[in-house]
Each structure stands twice: as C-alpha cells, then as structure tokens.
C-alpha cells in the first residue's frame, strides 16, 4: 500500500479530536455527492426532454417536406416520387394536404390545422394508429380524427358530427368569400404527446381534403421520412438539387431550429447553475482539509521527523481530497443513475402539457455527459485540495511539534 494513501485514510477516518471533525468530513462528501447526483439527474432530464420533443416532432411531422415555391399545389407528385427512387436514405414519400380552417361543434369553435392524408400511406397510418386514443381511423371520406386537447375544448366525443369551414373553393358573392362548410363525423381522437399537436391538428382523408380546399387532385406537398433523421438537412439539399425549381424543401431540424437552440441553451445554463453545487462542494473540501491540517499539526511535524518530505505530505492531503471526491462522486453517480432509472420507470411528476409540451418527465442518461460530470468534479476537487495540501507540506516541523 502506498504510505501517503495509508496516512491519508487514517487522517480522514481515524480518531478525530472532536465529533465535529467527522461531521465536516461527512458534509464535504455529501456536497460532492449532491452535486454529482443533481448534475446527472438534471442533465439526463434535459437530454430526455430534448430527445422526447425531437421524437414527437419527427413522429407527427415528417423529416423532410417538399413544397412548391409560393406554396403552389403540386399536381405531378407521382413523377416526383418516381424521380426520388434512387435515394437510398428515403423510407417513404407521402403526399399531403395542409391548410387552415375553422372547426365548430355546437357552440364551440376553434382554429385548426387540417391535414389531408391518404389511408394508403402506411407510414403515417402506422404512426397515427399508435397515437389513437379513442375510436378508429377514418374509413369514409366524411370522417376525421382530432387531438385530445382539441376534443376537450370542443366537448366532442367519437361519433359526434363537427363542421369544418374553409375559405377555399367557395363561391364569391358580392366580392367576398363565403367559407365552405363541410360536415365530418369524429371517428377517433389521438394523443400525439405534444400539446401543440393535440390542440390544433385535424386529420381528414386526402381525397376529401382535396375537395374542400378546391385542389382537384393536387396536393400541398410531399412528406419524406428518411433512415437517419439527423441527415435531414443534407438529404433535403440533395432532393432540392435533384428536383430543381419550382420545388423547395423544409426539414425538421430547420423548422424547429429555434426550439432546439433554446433547449440546448437551457441545458448549458442548468449545467452552469449546478456547477455552483460542485464549487460549494469544493469549498467544503477546502474547509475539511484545513480543519484536518489544523487538527493534525503535530502529526504532520512528527511525520516529517520520521522522514516524510514536503512532497509526501502534499500527497497525503491530495489523497484525502481524492478520497472525499471518490466517495462523493461514486455515491452521487450511483444515486443519480438510480434516480434517473426511477424517473424513467415511474411518473413522479405530472407536467401540465399546455406549458411543457410534454406531460411527463423524460430521462435520457448520456454516457458522455456522465463522464464529463465525473471529470469536472474530479478536477474541481483536486484543485480544492491544493491550498490546504500546500500549507500542510510547508509546515515547520519544529513549530509543529512544539505546538502541542
């Protein structure tokens, strides 16, 4: 056994002059412990939040959208589909219609986003089926599905008949547009996991959408799902190059850039705030070691008479800081990971969906974050040992042994 380490362990956990000494050691270990556990939990929740939001966005919205400039409807989407066959990254290409309208049920109305989708589109069908909470998918042209929050606002249930008013395709009378009103039966209610979608989206069959928006067989655009969602900007660029004018593309990263930038900033700020916990823990380590140095003045002097050099004494105190750090870090790591596990397994906290987009706390423990927390804590702890260790090493042995 390394003798400096042997002495460090004895100094830290051996007989102390006062019980207060033990408490101070426990507090410094506890400080590191809380810092590490809090950092791991908070960073993992932030990661989980980001990942969850991302997943929900790309789940309901597709990865890449092909549109025409000025949002002109696309009529030859089949030929576009054919021309993109060579792209290996593409999983599915689906035509869609997207527009805005008003929904009404009895005395309740709301502005909604209407998406026309094809029942033959197996990808969208699969995703929406996963989110379907009540009822079934539209089987007929005059059926629709809508989000849970919208349903709640309108007080509709499956089987109720709602009216949708659209400004397109209606007759012009006295120079103004009369909205076209169509009746739909609510066949199902979905929960996409995001308030924004649940409160705004209405899905109707593609053919019906084409009719009420006066598109006569044309579509708003094409939704593309790709294998690696993070390659969306590059694939979108290649598609744009291939199709040329008047086609343009949007991708999920570009469309939600500000949201992800805000989430990333939030994670950084949380990290900096929690770093303060680690810095407080570092001060605890300094206090503990200064107390140990003060308590052990005579012992340091004796050790020097026995042949320990200044460097050896320095090492003894650095080891003490390291022991505090290692115990605090490992216990913080275990408890932090355990808390993450509990959070992912059980729903402890109910999040109001209107505020947080998500209704429960998501957790995603990232290996690199954990490593970063461990390295950072170790650096802060080692730096905090330097001053007390230096003071101990420079202690005059004669003064130290006369001290008692």
């Amino acid at each position: 056994m390394n003798y400096s380490f042997f002495i460090a362990v004895k100094h830290l956990f051996g007989a102390r002059k006062t019980f207060f000494g033990y408490i101070v050691t426990a507090i410094s270990i506890g400080g590191v412990f809380i810092g590490v556990a809090a950092l791991i939990v908070v960073l993992s929740v932030m990661n989980g939040f980001q990942k969850d939001v991302k997943e929900r966005i790309v789940d309901v919205n597709s990865h890449i959208i092909i549109l025409k400039y000025f949002n002109e409807p696309i009529d030859d989407y089949k030929s576009i589909k054919d021309s993109l066959k060579e792209f290996d990254d593409i999983v599915s290409i689906t035509p869609f219609i997207y527009s805005k309208g008003l929904i009404q049920f009895e005395n309740w109305t709301n502005g909604v986003i209407i998406r026309g989708f094809s029942n033959e589109d197996s990808v969208t069908y699969g995703i929406m089926k996963k989110h379907l909470k009540f009822g079934k998918f539209p089987q007929k042209d005059d059926e629709l599905i809508l989000g849970v929050d919208l349903a709640e606002e309108l007080r509709v249930h499956t089987g109720d008949v709602v009216r949708i008013a659209t400004p397109f395709g209606s007759t012009e009378t006295f120079g103004s547009l009369i909205p076209k009103v169509s009746e739909f039966t609510v066949s199902g209610i979905f929960d996409a996991g995001m308030y924004q979608y649940n409160a705004e989206l209405v899905y109707i069959p593609l053919r019906k959408a084409s009719e009420i928006f006066g598109l006569s067989g044309k579509v708003t655009g094409l939704e593309i799902r790709i294998k690696d969602i993070y390659k969306a900007p590059q694939v979108a660029k290649r598609i744009e190059k291939k199709l040329g004018y008047p086609y343009r593309t949007n991708n999920w990263i570009e469309l939600n850039g500000s949201l992800f930038a805000a989430l990333a900033l939030e994670k950084k700020i949380m990290f900096l705030l929690l770093l303060l916990v680690i810095i407080v823990a570092a001060f605890n380590i300094i206090t503990t070691l200064i107390m140990v140095v003060m308590e052990k003045t005579t012992q340091i002097g004796i050790l020097k008479t026995l042949g320990l050099s200044e460097r050896d004494i320095l090492r003894v105190y650095i080891y003490q800081g390291l022991i505090i750090n290692i115990i605090g870090t490992i216990s913080g790591l275990i408890v932090g990971l355990f808390l993450c596990f509990l959070l992912s397994k059980y729903k402890f906290i109910d999040l109001p969906g209107e505020v947080y987009l998500l209704d429960k706390l998501p957790v995603d423990v990232q290996f690199l974050d954990v490593i970063f927390v461990l390295i950072l804590t170790s650096i802060v702890s080692i730096v905090s040992t330097l001053y007390p260790a230096y003071k101990a090493s420079k202690m005059d042995p004669v003064k130290a042994i006369k001290y008692e």
Partner: protein, 225 residues
C-alpha cells in the same frame, strides 16, 4: 573513534517582532560515533534547537553541520527527509505517537517510508515491539498505553530503520524514576549491542551516569565538555 557529527560555528537566532533572540551563539562541537553523549543545560539554553538543527528539522542561521562529511544543510528537502528517515531516530519528551494509528502501525511508519513494503514493515515492527516486551500491546492505540509503554513504542519507532544516531530530547522528562531507568537501560543496551550513537538532551543530572560524555550548554554556548 571518529566523529559522526561535526559542528562549526553554529548560530541560530529568532526574530520576534523587532527583537532578535540569539539562541545558539557559535557552537563548535564533535559528536563521537558509537557513544552516548548527554547535552545538559537549563531550559532556554538552546539544547532542543541544537538537536533540531542536528536532525535537520531546523536550519542554522550561520555555521555548518557535517554528518560523516556531508554538509547537511545544503541538502534539499527530499534529501534531508530521506537522510532523516535512514540515519536518525528521534525520541521526544512527549511520546509523539500518532493517535489514529495502532502501536505497531506507529512503529512501522519510518520503515514503510523507506521500503514501501507494508508487510515487511509490519513484521519488523512486531519483532521490535516484542524485543521491548510490548508484544501484547501491538494492537493498542497510544492512548491505551501507559506512559512507559508509550515511550517504549516511540523507542521502537526510532529504531526500526536501524539508524546510526538516536536524537533524544528529554526522553525521560515525562516518566517516573522507574520508567526513566528502564528507558536508559534500553538505550545503554542498544548502544552496547549495535554501537548506535546517542545524543540525549536532559536537565536531569542523575541520568548522566549512563553516558560516555556530557556537554554543558548554557545560554547558547558550550561551557565545557
């Protein structure tokens, strides 16, 4: 017999605020190898300061200390520490055992510093404690031992690296006459058996019967020797 320590014009002063206190005022001295030498003098005469300087725990303000021809105070901290560990065994008035260590752990420390071998050091400390009739005390903490036992543990610790010199500062100061005699008998036996040099500070003139030579230090200067 050759000199193990040679001291030339050794001076030590302390500055307390704006007052300069000269503790050692130019000491010239030779300590013979293999002998028991007593340094006798009243308190404040500079005995402990001289011992600390000889043991490299303190540095002189002026002058030179040679140990077998080596200029001790020109060594760096690491070399001095190593030299102390290998060549010097310190025994103080207060036993200065480390309270958080067991008796055998206290004894083995200097050997552990030297060999870095825990088991070897442990074994040697057991042997030494046994030779000083402390085999039933190896697992005791210092505060569980009597004054005489504590001092014997301290002697064992001073001897474990088989040093050439034992520097003892009032080693019997805290002991009754029975234990004092026992400690001096041990010193005498070790000196006889291994030829170690003893430099013992005391103000107890009764002890000098155990020594080969007495140096009187009064007010920072050697009176006679």
């Amino acid at each position: 017999m050759s000199s193990i320590f040679k001291v030339f014009n050794l001076k030590k002063s302390f500055q307390i605020k704006d007052k300069r206190i000269d503790v050692l005022k130019g000491i010239n001295l030779e300590i013979e190898e293999g002998k028991i030498t007593f340094i006798l003098g009243p308190s404040g005469a500079g005995k402990s300061t001289l011992l600390h300087i000889l043991g490299t725990l303190d540095s002189p303000t002026e002058g030179e200390v040679l140990f077998k021809g080596t200029r001790l105070h020109s060594l760096d901290d690491k070399s001095k520490s190593r030299w102390r560990n290998e060549n010097i065994g310190f025994i103080f008035q207060s036993h200065y055992l480390l309270n958080e260590f067991l008796a055998y752990e206290n004894v083995m420390l200097p050997h552990l510093f030297l060999t870095k071998n825990f088991f070897k050091s442990k074994k040697k400390s057991f042997e030494l404690l046994d030779s000083l009739s402390l085999s039933d005390r190896v697992f005791h903490k210092p505060n569980e031992l009597s004054g005489g036992e504590q001092q014997r543990v301290a002697i064992a610790r001073a001897l474990i690296n088989d040093p050439e010199v034992i520097l003892a500062d009032e080693p019997t100061g805290n002991l009754d006459s029975k234990n004092s005699d026992m400690v001096m008998q041990i010193f005498k036996r070790i000196n006889r058996e291994s030829g170690k040099t003893f430099l013992i500070i005391t103000h107890n003139e009764e002890l000098i019967k155990y020594g080969d030579r007495v140096i009187k230090l009064v007010d920072g200067v050697i009176e006679n020797s």
